[in-house]
């Protein structure tokens, strides 16, 4: 079977199996190794690709909702979308959510995903109270920040390379409305965009859309979206089935002209300093309304690229990278800017304090070399690239920008993961 990440690049041949039970998963691991667990396949590159893939789609049960302490225990294959569909109407929300709800609980932990509230709430892993992990030996252990903490901090953000997450208990936050009060702030340059983040540091949620095709003084113009949970009592929620992009559209439709037109109209449409209540789903998951939006990039697929630059020197380094992108003319359909709060203890977790930018490119050979050029700038600035979105990073760049990789490897060795769990990505990045 052909398997790829959400970007559609790279594609490999794999044996993909769906374990019906946790016991089946254990048997599969005993029979075939190394393997990699896969949830909904929404990591963009090759982190859930391998010749043997264990999909967790049938391990999708809610196990316990504790409404006194506000915690949820669920199996790893349960999607965040299903969690939200069932829990929002009961007045609960996830403490951290990525930009799509089509990810599993296990995937969210393995990628240690972040959201629009990273500056205040940190990553998803920081709200995991405990989890059960299937180790390479077939043994199942419970780990938490206090129990086997080395395994816990290697597994949160560990890209599935320490074991298979079977289930987890996470913190929830109470909400009284399924709406978000959203405020829009327009900024005409990169410097002003950065300042807008600093001025609005207290906002619960903040994220900016940025125009990557503008040059000169308009370089880095943006629309910043701030959000707070609305106060009024209204938990009604509509989670419609997405409208599906049925086929791969010809890639030439996304070109410099069409993207700059889209970007310009997006900027023009936004009204500065406007506040309004929007459904929680459209604030957090705008692209979830279009099923298979990845097909818009054509059959060759695309590369999603997200990096973070430390606060110190962040502005000038970001400017340099944006110039590199505008120079190439390979505009991004969607570029998202966000200010991160401090890093956590997880060994391979992506966020560090600073500015992060996410964008995507058609997977052409010139764009792949553009991304590799950007990798160098990011590395020299003391930043790093998000492993969940990576498809092309070199081993040397990985090892230079994720300095705890050796500690990660020794935890993997200690818990018998080496030779049992591997992905195309882990091999590319030189992990054992």
């Amino acid at each position: 079977m052909r398997v790829s990440g959400w970007g559609g690049y790279p594609i490999i041949d794999a044996d993909l199996s769906n374990a019906a039970t946790q016991e089946d998963l254990r048997k599969l691991l005993e029979a075939t190794q190394p393997l990699i667990a896969r949830g909904m396949g929404r990591s963009y590159g090759d982190s859930a690709n391998h010749s043997v893939v264990a999909q967790t789609k049938y391990l999708d049960h809610f196990l316990e909702l504790d409404t006194v302490n506000g915690t949820l225990k669920a199996e790893a294959g349960l999607s965040l979308r299903e969690i939200l569909r069932v829990l929002i109407k009961q007045g609960w929300f996830l403490p951290v959510t990525p930009g799509t709800s089509f990810v599993t609980l296990g995937g969210a932990i393995a990628s240690d995903v972040h959201g629009k509230n990273h500056h205040l709430s940190g990553t998803f892993g920081e709200h995991v109270l405990s989890m059960r992990v299937l180790l390479g030996s077939g043994e199942v252990v419970t780990t938490s920040p206090l129990v086997l903490p080395d395994l816990f901090h290697a597994t949160c953000g560990g890209m599935g390379l320490t074991g298979v997450i079977l289930d987890a208990t996470i913190k929830l936050i109470p909400i009284s409305s399924s709406k978000i009060s959203q405020k829009t702030i327009k900024s005409r340059s990169l410097e002003k965009s950065f300042r807008a983040f600093d001025q609005n540091f207290a906002a619960t949620y903040s994220v900016a859309w940025i125009d990557c095709l503008k040059t000169g003084s308009s370089l880095g113009r943006s629309v910043l979206f701030l959000g707070e949970h609305a106060g009024r009592e209204d938990l009604a929620l509509s989670l419609k089935k997405p409208i599906t992009v049925p086929i791969h559209t010809p890639a030439f439709l996304l070109n410099k002209l069409s993207i700059s037109t889209l970007n310009a109209s997006y900027y023009a449409k936004a009204i500065n300093n406007r506040s309004k209540d929007v459904p929680l789903t459209s604030f957090f998951y705008p692209l979830d309304a279009i099923g298979g939006w990845n097909k818009l990039y054509g059959k060759q697929g695309f590369i999603q690229y997200q990096f973070v630059l430390p606060t110190e020197g962040g502005l000038s380094n970001m400017r340099e990278i944006l110039k590199e992108i505008t120079k190439s003319g390979s505009g991004s359909f969607l570029a998202v800017l966000k200010k991160f709060g401090p890093a956590n203890k997880n060994l391979l977790s992506f966020p560090i304090e600073g500015y992060t930018l996410a964008l995507d490119f058609k997977a052409t050979s010139s764009n792949i070399s553009l991304v590799q050029r950007m990798d160098e700038v990011v590395k020299d600035s003391g930043g790093r690239v998000y492993l969940t979105k990576d498809a092309v990073m070199k081993e040397s760049t990985f090892k230079a920008t994720y300095p705890k990789w050796q500690e990660f490897e020794s935890v993997r060795e200690k818990y018998g993961a080496i030779g049992k769990f591997a992905s195309s990505q882990s091999k590319r990045l030189g992990l054992a």
């Binding site: 199996s17 769906n18 019906a20 039970t21 049938y58 049960h61 809610f62 316990e64 949820l72 069932v86």
Partner: protein, 243 residues
């Protein structure tokens, strides 16, 4: 609130029906062989909103315990409004061809145990003068085919039995709904190659619940199977053998 008995509750189709019922706040009584999986499914349904969930671990090939199981379900929920019979195994046709014993075993699981349950539940509902029995048969029961005729003939028996029951109750408030799914992507069909005619268990579950609410006699799901199977049923052997 409806009181619903689900037999073969760990089957993917039954589980997805149970999830929809749980969200409607119904009371559920689940019966299946695997205790651990039953427990996980029961907790899942509680979080999803079921007003109550109780379980009973039983291999439905243990016919002697069918009455006991029904009595327990009745007692636990204080009656039964709907019974969904969804247990079964997908027979390995090639192995059955070489073994009378295995063939008999498959017929026992997929036909006889269902007949036993249908008989007991029908009498119970007849006594109450109300109730809906939904039984999961299959398009495979409409015409025997070389690839799966052991499974198909078991389902044919279930289909015929259910249609007879339906006629017996035509003047009463008891209804019998025969469900005929086509290709459904579940752990049971994991080894089959999937194509465009395949649907997920969530799709099938939605149409089952609709058919039960409407007290429909028979439901092909997806509906296009009605046309395919009616053509197949009347097509001459000379034509069918080529496919």
């Amino acid at each position: 609130m409806k009181k619903i008995l689900i037999l073969g509750a760990t089957s993917a189709i039954a589980e997805h029906c149970a999830r929809l019922w749980a969200e409607q706040g119904q009371a559920l009584y689940l019966v299946a062989r695997n205790e651990d999986r039953l427990a996980a499914i029961a907790s899942d349904l509680r979080v999803r909103g079921a007003s109550s969930v109780d379980t009973f671990t039983l291999d439905l090939n243990d016919f002697d315990r069918h009455e006991e199981m029904l009595a327990r379900a009745d007692k636990s929920m204080g009656g039964i409004d709907i019974a969904l019979i969804a247990h079964g195994t997908l027979s390995n046709q090639k192995e059955c061809e070489q073994s009378v014993e295995l063939t008999m075993q498959e017929l026992r699981t997929n036909a006889l145990s269902t007949i036993s349950l249908l008989t007991l539940i029908a009498n119970k509902f007849e006594g109450n003068q109300s109730g809906t029995i939904a039984v999961v048969s299959s398009v495979a029961g409409d015409r025997g085919r070389a690839s799966n005729y052991v499974y198909g003939s078991a389902k044919a028996m279930v289909t015929a039995f259910a249609s007879g029951l339906r006629q017996r109750f035509h003047n009463s408030n008891v209804s019998v709904v025969t469900i005929k799914p086509g290709f459904v992507d579940t752990p049971m069909t994991a080894s089959s190659k999937k194509g465009i005619m395949w649907v997920g268990p969530d799709y099938v579950a939605k149409s089952i619940i609709k058919a039960i609410d409407a007290r429909q006699a028979q439901k092909y799901t997806p509906s296009f199977w009605w046309l395919i199977m009616n053509i197949l049923k009347i097509a001459p052997s000379a034509v069918v053998k080529k496919f």
